[in-house]
């Protein structure tokens, strides 16, 4: 076991214990992580704003707003099952692309 107070051996770059940075050279690692970040951004942004728009712009009741948001979460839950099944059937990349395209249609 190396003494952590000493400087690391100069021969080779030590492998990071927390997050080996060479993983970011893998596209299968970096691209899904970034896509996940963007998906979360688009989803949660709308999640916070939508009830406000419901109440202010459309003047609808709180009940309707919360019902729609509940329906949205239910759709996410059901679609997660579908997404996992599709990922096993046709592969991760096509499924992710389809999901993000549906997300874009919904947002646009």
């Amino acid at each position: 076991v190396r003494d952590w107070r000493r400087s690391p051996p100069s021969s080779a770059a030590p492998r990071s214990r927390l997050l080996p940075l060479e993983y970011f050279s893998l596209r299968d690692f970096t691209a899904p992580i970034l896509a996940n970040g963007f998906m979360g951004a688009a989803y949660m942004g709308a999640f916070v704003l939508a009830p406000l728009i419901f109440l202010e712009t459309f003047g609808s009741s709180v009940t309707l707003a919360s019902l729609v948001m509940l329906l949205r979460t239910g759709a996410l839950t059901a679609a997660s099952l579908l997404g996992g099944w599709l990922a096993g059937r046709v592969g991760a990349r096509p499924t992710a692309v389809v999901g993000t395209v549906v997300m874009t249609i919904g947002s646009g």
Binding site: D28, A35, G40, F47, M103, G106, G108
Partner: protein, 279 residues
């Protein structure tokens, strides 16, 4: 649809867009997570999942901030805010398209050759075997403690073998040993030997459960192994140490109905020791 519904004042399109967003997110996120997890070697899946989770949380926070900013800023509004959200999901589409297969297992290690499915099968098989090996080593450590008659092991060890082992030995259920009996007596020894054989059979090869590993593992459990390992060598002076099995032991094994292991596989190092000790 959200941005369109917000600009047109159409409640239907707005709500429909929200539900569609939920659908899209639900379909996209599981394969993305799976792709991240399968891009790295299996011992680093935790690291990958943590990085994934970190960035998705950062994305959540930034999404809330950015859309709220676009909504509240001058010249902004709901339409602008949801258009920004649409741009974010376009970025998500681009990055998802930038993925490669997404099904590679052990991304750094085994990129070359084989379909995704075959590599997945191979990797899962490896994991399965390693897991079995660990379980078996722990069981062997417990059995080793049982041999030496440690009190907790004496109570529990025979049950660990399960019904298959006792079926194999032709004595099901195993006759109860008197409570005061020595742990190294013959039924216990045969049980240990039967477990030994079943383990070797389950693993398919003997090298995974070599004697050195067992000794090392016992040591890790805080059990001194010097007495057990030294005993065969001391008892059989002049003979080849530790890999030979006395004829009496083979006869005893045959009497218990267990098939004899091949000598080349080094089978029965535990049994020979135990039987020598008991008999």
């Amino acid at each position: 649809l959200i941005a369109l519904g917000a600009s047109q004042g159409s409640l239907l399109w707005f709500g429909g867009g929200l539900v569609l967003q939920g659908l899209g997110n639900g379909v996209a996120v599981p394969p993305l997570n799976a792709a991240v997890a399968s891009a790295v070697p299996i011992e680093d899946v935790g690291i990958a999942a943590a990085a994934n989770r970190l960035l998705s949380q950062v994305g959540n926070a930034f999404g809330i901030t950015i859309l709220t900013l676009a909504y509240g800023s001058r010249g902004g509004g709901s339409t602008v805010a949801f258009a920004v959200g649409g741009a974010l999901s376009v970025l998500a589409v681009v990055t998802a398209l930038a993925m490669e297969a997404g099904d590679a297992v052990d991304g750094l290690g085994s990129r070359a050759g084989g379909s995704g499915a075959s590599r997945r099968a191979a990797a899962s098989g490896t994991g399965d075997r390693v897991e079995r090996s660990i379980t078996i080593r722990m069981r062997r450590a417990r059995l080793g403690a049982h041999q030496r008659g440690l009190p907790h092991a004496r109570r529990r060890a025979p049950n660990r073998l399960g019904p298959a082992a006792s079926d194999r030995l032709g004595s099901s259920p195993r006759p109860a040993r008197p409570r005061g009996a020595r742990a190294g007596c013959e039924p216990a020894a045969a049980t240990v030997r039967g477990a030994d054989h079943l383990e070797r059979e389950a693993l398919g090869e003997a090298d995974l459960v070599g004697e050195r590993d067992r000794v090392e593992l016992l040591g890790r459990f805080g059990i001194s192994t010097s007495s057990t390992t030294a005993r065969p060598a001391r008892r059989s002076v002049g003979a080849r140490p530790s890999r030979t099995r006395p004829a009496g032991a083979a006869a005893a094994l045959a009497a218990f109905g267990a098939p004899a292991p091949s000598p080349a596989s080094g089978g029965g190092t535990t049994s020979s020791r135990t039987l020598m000790r008991g008999g």
